[in-house]
């Protein structure tokens, strides 16, 4: 249980930081696509006896490579490219999984994670990933902020928009890949969006939004595990459910003062 909590907190920190950029830059769709795009990779790796995380990495690379190939070679929007690959990869994952009968349990594990059965090595990987994310975001703080503000502005200011966009995507992929063992590919997306979304409602600065998101995520993990333990519910799904509830709680508590706050006393 201690390992589960630790892993959950690490996921919350990673998802809080990366989720903040996903929310601020409107990358939700690509985050979602990545979260599902890794499925065939994981399924194939498990089928062939490789570690799932390796398969997830390959899946994420194929996904990002495919999206950039389609958007560069055609005039289709990235939405179309993402949607297409998203559905294709998900279908491929299910097809691979359906090849083996003994796999249905594995599928549930991949989709919803197995936070209660987290291994020390998975915990180590999660720690490393969270550390990499924190360090990279500190190093790239200024270009990332400018990207959120305006990619063109970042480019003109001498921070290559495509370079830092790709670094950001790589961090999203890293978060998704490492978090799938804990909350699962289906639910990692909830952990990316719900806490950061709640943070966006109350934060006045990007840094505080990340901190709020990490705190909301950690609370979700704690109470999610508590609820799942006492009522014998699926742990990963309980965590994301609590995260979503927290979002709506913040939303309703916040919506009242916002209506007076937002009035044009400054405008």
């Amino acid at each position: 249980m201690l390992n589960a909590l630790l892993a959950g907190f690490l996921v919350s920190i990673a998802c809080g930081i990366i989720g903040t950029f996903i929310v601020l830059r409107g990358l939700a769709f690509i985050g979602d696509a990545l979260a599902h795009g890794v499925l065939p990779g994981i399924a194939l790796a498990l089928l062939l006896g490789f570690p799932g995380i390796l398969g997830a990495t390959v899946g994420a690379l194929v996904m990002i490579g495919g999206i950039s190939l389609i958007t560069r070679r055609t005039r289709l929007s990235s939405d179309t490219a993402i949607g297409l690959l998203f559905v294709g990869m998900l279908a491929l994952g299910v097809v691979i999984v359906s090849r083996s009968n003994s796999f249905s349990g594995d599928l549930v594990r991949v989709l919803f994670g197995e936070i209660l059965g987290i291994t020390p090595s998975a915990l180590l990987i999660q720690s490393a990933a969270t550390l990499i994310i924190i360090v990279t975001v500190i190093v790239c703080a200024r270009p990332f902020l400018m990207l959120c503000f305006s990619p063109e502005q970042a480019q003109v200011a001498g921070f290559s928009a495509s370079l830092y966009h790709n670094i950001m995507l790589a961090l999203v992929a890293l978060t998704v890949i490492t978090s799938f063992q804990t909350v699962g590919t289906l639910l990692v997306f909830g952990m990316l969006l719900a806490p950061a979304g709640a943070g966006a409602l109350i934060a006045r600065r990007v840094r505080s939004m990340m901190i709020w998101a990490a705190v909301f995520g950690s609370l979700s993990v704690y109470f999610g595990l508590l609820v799942s333990y006492h009522f014998n519910l699926a742990a990963g799904a309980s965590i994301v459910l609590v995260a979503t509830l927290i979002f709506f709680l913040v939303f309703f508590l916040r919506s009242r003062p916002l209506s007076t706050f937002g009035s044009p006393h400054l405008g």
């Binding site: 959120c148 480019q155 001498g158 990007v206 405008g267």
Partner: protein, 266 residues
């Protein structure tokens, strides 16, 4: 059609020169054969309706769009090679409403190019940031969240960020679109100050009055209708070709009047 002032020396690192320049997107020419020269302390206004090529021109100057043909030299280099000397304000800030930023955070971004990834903000940077906010009249809003400001106030914040860059070349896309009368007046005053310290300014605008305040104007309608000193080229004929209606510039005190409407132009 040529600017009255002699064309700046091609080697000068303090000028913008375009020679037989074709600009556009993805190989498609939007404005062919652009020629102009701009040197220290000069301003150029790009005037035209939406889709006339103003923004394309600005994006080519700052290096966001590659030129299709011809030559353009910006501050002694091809476009985009001098981020430290350049300030650019684009037309849209779609994320401005959701980004959790205070006014000061936005203005501070104007120092990022100078500071790079790790450079610490010094006392001097703080002073530049404060002075920039003061000049745009927003120092009282220093800690206010960006998303609670009016459109005009946000535009002043973005302008303060531009000033904080202390750039040699300032490129602005419709910088006065949300400003009220006092904001508009302040803007003219600030542009004068920037020119006096030697900065070059390029502005895309619908505002003929603003164009007349610049040293040079370029009328665009998917072609260069005219380029040169405002009082010479802001003629009814040229404006008819640019806008499809006749506007008459009646001198600084009388402003601009719409004299006659014509049916569209080709």
């Amino acid at each position: 059609m040529r600017p009255e002032s002699p064309l700046p020396d091609n080697n000068s690192s303090k000028c913008v020169i375009a020679h037989n320049l074709d600009i556009g997107y993805q190989g498609e020419i939007i404005v062919p054969q652009v020629n102009f020269g701009l040197t220290c302390g000069e301003s150029l206004a790009l005037v035209g309706i939406n889709g006339s090529g103003k923004t394309t021109m600005l994006k080519t100057i700052v290096g966001l769009l590659p030129p299709i043909k011809g030559e353009i030299t910006v501050l002694g280099n091809p476009p985009g090679k001098n981020p430290h000397q350049l300030a650019y304000l684009s037309q849209f800030h779609d994320s401005g409403f959701i980004l959790p930023l205070r006014v000061k955070d936005v203005v501070q971004m104007g120092r990022f190019t100078e500071k790079g990834l790790f450079g610490r903000m010094t006392q001097i940077d703080e002073e530049i940031i404060t002075t920039s906010m003061h000049r745009m009249g927003i120092e009282d809003l220093r800690d206010a969240p960006l998303r609670m400001l009016s459109g005009g106030q946000q535009q002043r914040v973005y302008m303060a960020q531009v000033l904080a860059r202390q750039a040699d070349l300032i490129v602005l896309d419709e910088p006065t679109s949300s400003l009220d009368a006092s904001g508009r007046e302040l803007f003219s005053h600030i542009m004068d100050e920037e020119r006096q310290r030697g900065a070059m300014i390029v502005i895309a605008t619908h505002d003929i009055q603003l164009a007349a305040e610049c040293n040079q104007a370029m009328l665009l309608a998917r072609e260069v209708v005219a380029v040169g000193p405002g009082e010479e080229i802001l003629t009814p004929e040229a404006l008819l070709k640019t806008f499809g209606i006749v506007l008459l510039y009646q001198g600084e005190d009388k402003g601009v009047g719409i004299v006659e409407r014509e049916h569209g132009h080709n």
